[in-house]
Symmetry: C2
Subunit: 360 residues, 2 copies
């Protein structure tokens, strides 16, 4: 948390000259905020300075103030970039779009809450001719949502989407081969910094559920969060444990459950995969065993993978694979969207507002 | 040949209403031509009619005339779509871009000829603020060139690109497992319509060479066509044969060569793959054996696959996979570009000129 905004700022610094010279694109950072400070500069902030230096002379940060000021400035081609993982700015999105300001964000909250909110934001963007962009909500820098949009705009019909959408769960189930107890694999993943502080926040599948919900809505299914069927893979005692330490004790005592699953899978020549699936009007998140003929069988490390089976990609799906998390690839995905907004709005320069990390 | 333009017209017909209602995008076909007839209609042609009906009342087709007329009309947001595989319009591209008309084309010829020509077209588009788009040059509808552009614009550094870029050669080497002679596999591929009329036009690797050349240039390497190192996999007599029948006789007599290659690969636990590679300033096209750890090991059918190893996607590459040929996915890729030009130019409607099939 906090890292993405900073990384985006670095990428902007590094690419500014290239984009100006090679692509005739001028980007201008006119506002920057974190949870403590915010700063506005109509002529553009000097991005050769780092975030802390830029904000040192700022005022006290207040999100309502920030957005009011941004609207007041009324700059053409303005883009609001929310790099937080919090809900602090979410309630303002509609207001921002209504002010003809585009939004680019890796933040999943707005799109994975009620369908009514999702639809309201899409409509606001459409009506005001601006963009609401969130490619990095699924697969970070991997081209998932844009690929889906292009397929649909050209009239392809989506039959099925399958994805391994959590780098953490991909790593855990790619590593777990039965030679080491499941609890050890999870412990090791936590030690490597691959999991949330409480690994149950990964293992409960809720983050994956939010991602498949967003894809379902992109496909045109007006699903609510509780309509995503999430398989609970953790035995009761693991869920009830009151601390992370207690959770690991409970998980150790549940190792047999996972040992049995991996053995059954392996005896059938299969491997375990934590899969999100959209099929036949239903969105599901579940632990499955896949055989050698399945694209996910070859997954390694913490890769994400997503397979679109469509009217045109019917016999063999269109598959995208690669690391689906990390500040650098996420920021790069947001950066590509900032550039695309500039292009969409069709001018040679663009002012943009970077709502930066909450936890700097 | 000829199929892509027709398919694009069908997709346009099918999607026109959806795009107007759901995306506020109006597309207007103001000109259409094939090798025999051409027709202009300032208010837009009635695309509910099929191509033959539309062209029935047309004038005699003449490419110079077509382009002169298109320039005369001087419509805002105009896009020229070259769906031919011929070079008939290539010499006019620069002129078209200079007239502030964007181009979208699956035709590889313009980009795989001299570097000077490639650069001239890119510059013309940049200077006139229009787009020169050719995503479908590599991998048809798969998001290859756009993904590469997004990586580069956000400052990623491309270390290596590896691709299986020919559906035909993918099919041949995915099918050839040593149980059937190589010549039979090629014959079967031809019978299924997967190869060019003379399969040597696939097996000589020149089409793949053009694709990797285009990717090299996108990465920023000013390569000329003769700088792509293409491994010749066909023994002399196959190359010298004067007819397709004679070629197959020569290929039969060369089966041992391929049998030995597949056996060596299999004994090492590998499979044969016809790979295009960009690495360390060099572009190569070659038959290689890859082991289980390589993403291409899992290729099946006639899938294309492309792996980008970059500064950010370093440990695990970003991989895109799927069918990389076919009129429907190619036309869909062109369609997505037509829509993106509309967006880039930032207006709610767009006139476009479809230079349709040469061989209808």
């Amino acid at each position: 948390a906090g890292l993405i905004g900073n990384t985006l700022l670095q990428q902007l610094r590094q690419q500014k000259e290239y984009l100006r010279q090679e692509q005739h694109i001028n980007l201008n950072l006119v506002a920057l905020a974190n949870s403590k400070k915010m700063r506005f500069e109509l002529d553009g902030l000097d991005i050769d300075q780092d975030k802390d230096a830029l904000l040192a002379t700022g005022e006290t940060s207040e999100v309502t103030q920030f957005i009011a000021r941004m609207k007041e400035l009324n700059l053409p081609n303005s883009i609001f970039v929310d790099c937080t993982a919090s809900n602090i700015a979410i309630g303002h999105y509609e207001d921002i779009l209504n002010a003809s300001i585009s939004i680019a964000t890796p933040n999943k909250i707005a799109n994975s809450d009620s369908f009514a909110q999702y639809q309201k934001l899409k409509q606001a963007a459409l009506i005001h001719g601006v963009k609401f962009l969130y490619e990095t909500n699924v697969g970070a820098g991997l081209p998932v949502i844009n690929t889906l949009k292009d397929l649909q705009n050209s009239g392809d019909k989506i039959h099925k989407i399958e994805g391994v959408l959590s780098g953490t769960l991909s790593y855990i189930f790619n590593t777990f081969d039965g030679t080491t107890p499941f609890s050890e694999v999870v412990k090791e993943a936590k030690a490597k910094g691959f999991t949330e502080p409480d690994p149950r926040d990964d293992l409960n599948g809720m983050d994956v559920a939010r991602k498949i919900l967003i894809l379902a809505r992109e496909v045109g299914w007006p699903l609510e969060p509780d309509q995503v069927q999430v398989e609970n893979i953790l035995p009761g005692p693991c869920l009830l444990a009151n601390s992370v330490d207690d959770f690991f004790i409970a998980l150790e005592q549940s190792n047999d459950v996972f040992q049995q699953k991996i053995q059954e899978a392996q005896q059938a020549g299969k491997k375990l995969c934590f899969i999100a699936q959209l099929d036949n009007g239903e969105a599901k998140v579940k632990l499955e065993s896949v055989d050698q003929s399945h694209p996910f069988y070859t997954l390694r490390g913490s890769d994400n993978m997503i397979a679109f089976t469509t009217e045109r990609y019917k016999n063999q799906p269109l598959v995208i694979r690669g690391p689906g998390a990390g500040a650098d690839v996420t920021a790069a995905g947001v950066f590509a969207e900032v550039i695309s907004v500039r292009r969409f709005l069709g001018q040679s320069s663009s002012k943009f507002n970077l709502k930066s990390p909450q936890k700097p």
